[in-house]
Assembly symmetry: C2
Homo-oligomer: 193 residues x 2
DNA sequence: TTGCGGTGAGAACGATAGTTCTCTATGGTG
DNA sequence: CACCATAGAGAACTATCGTTCTCACCGCAA
């Protein structure tokens, strides 16, 4: 086995990704050095680089990981509320509100990452675009199941409302944009039925 | 007078702000060094620092300047379309579309700046929040003038739709989110009348 | 004419950070 | 037991960048 002071490959990987998530989300990608990740994860720089050969690779791994985690959480939150009898479209914005209320909320990590990306890092851009597509896809399933008469563009428009609400709530440090988005979404649903 | 090779204080200031706008918007704040601004503006580092004592000051001056410029452009674009008979709410999203179609479009400079801001630079945050408030204020005047029966939250919701459309169009490199936002906004207006 | 203030050009300084390298130790395998 | 791949600790290398400093120059006022 490994020495007591070192972690297995899996534990190290997990610890690195958890630390990367905390640090990158809280302080931004540029605001976090590899040494910070090393300190927080409790691994050596050597190990960090052996698992993620560059910072760009680490960021990509982090985004992929966060995509999985966040989508799972979002889907669960929406499902939970719908089961409790909340209107689907309200449940979607309710999940966003729940997220925005959590401590340390700093908006969407993916959008922040894109805004920070200075050079043309196509890999990161692609991950973010895929994340947004997956979000709209999920919203689309929920919404067109619940409101069959909704027009084609409704799921995409909800995606726009979600991203706008997330961004604005972070800018203003307020839940009001989410409430406004929720009102708008509900009004749209009412207009279809 | 100044020597031929040097610019007046005003010309230098103008040149610096124009260069800062191009560079910061195109490559992000962190991606631009003071030396880059110097080269592009054609002034010396000494002069650059005498007009803007730190990079943070320069960024603040740039954001203030861009706020003025952008708001003026936006208001004009909306007015122009309304005069041409375009529905006000369509005109608002039309202005966003016109912007997003312009070469070098990289989303909202203010939102990008916020996302990049790692430490708590309250000055920059405040400028961005003021910009968004001013945008919503303008939208509010236009919209509540044109649709008196619109509910209180409508202008704010339009602000959310605008920011979402801006962000998503930059992420996807597509005008589709703007069209979706426009459809949603028009449908909302129809539902009030 | 002689300083003085402001300027350009660019070197220099100090800090930070991505990445690699050295040295040492440890545990599994032949 | 000896060997080797791998790990930790941290120094070292290299590059970038914000900021300041040096030196030379020029126009203007006393």
């Amino acid at each position: 086995m490994s020495p007591a002071s070192t972690l297995s490959r899996e534990s190290a990987q997990e610890s690195i990704l958890r630390s990367a998530d905390q640090l990158f989300y809280e302080r931004g990608i540029a605001g976090v050095g590899m040494a910070d990740v090393r300190d927080s994860a409790g691994v050596s720089l050597r190990r960090l680089y052996s698992l993620h050969p560059s910072k760009s690779d680490l960021v990509a791994a982090w985004l992929e990981d966060r995509h999985q985690t966040w989508m799972r959480w979002f889907a669960d939150s929406v499902d939970r509320q719908v089961v409790d009898g909340v209107e689907p479209v309200r449940a979607i914005l309710g999940a966003i509100e729940e997220w925005a209320t959590s401590p340390g909320y700093r908006g969407c990590a993916f959008l922040n990452a894109i805004a920070e990306t200075t050079e043309i890092d196509d890999r990161h851009r692609a991950i973010v675009a895929d994340h947004k597509r997956a979000l709209i896809q999920h919203v689309s399933v929920v919404v067109h199941g619940a409101y069959p008469s909704a027009p084609e563009w409704f799921a995409s428009a909800l995606g726009v409302l979600i991203d706008g609400a997330v961004v604005d709530s972070a800018v203003f440090g307020s839940l009001a944009p989410i409430a406004d988005a929720s009102s708008a979404a509900s009004t749209l649903v009412d207009s279809f039925t």
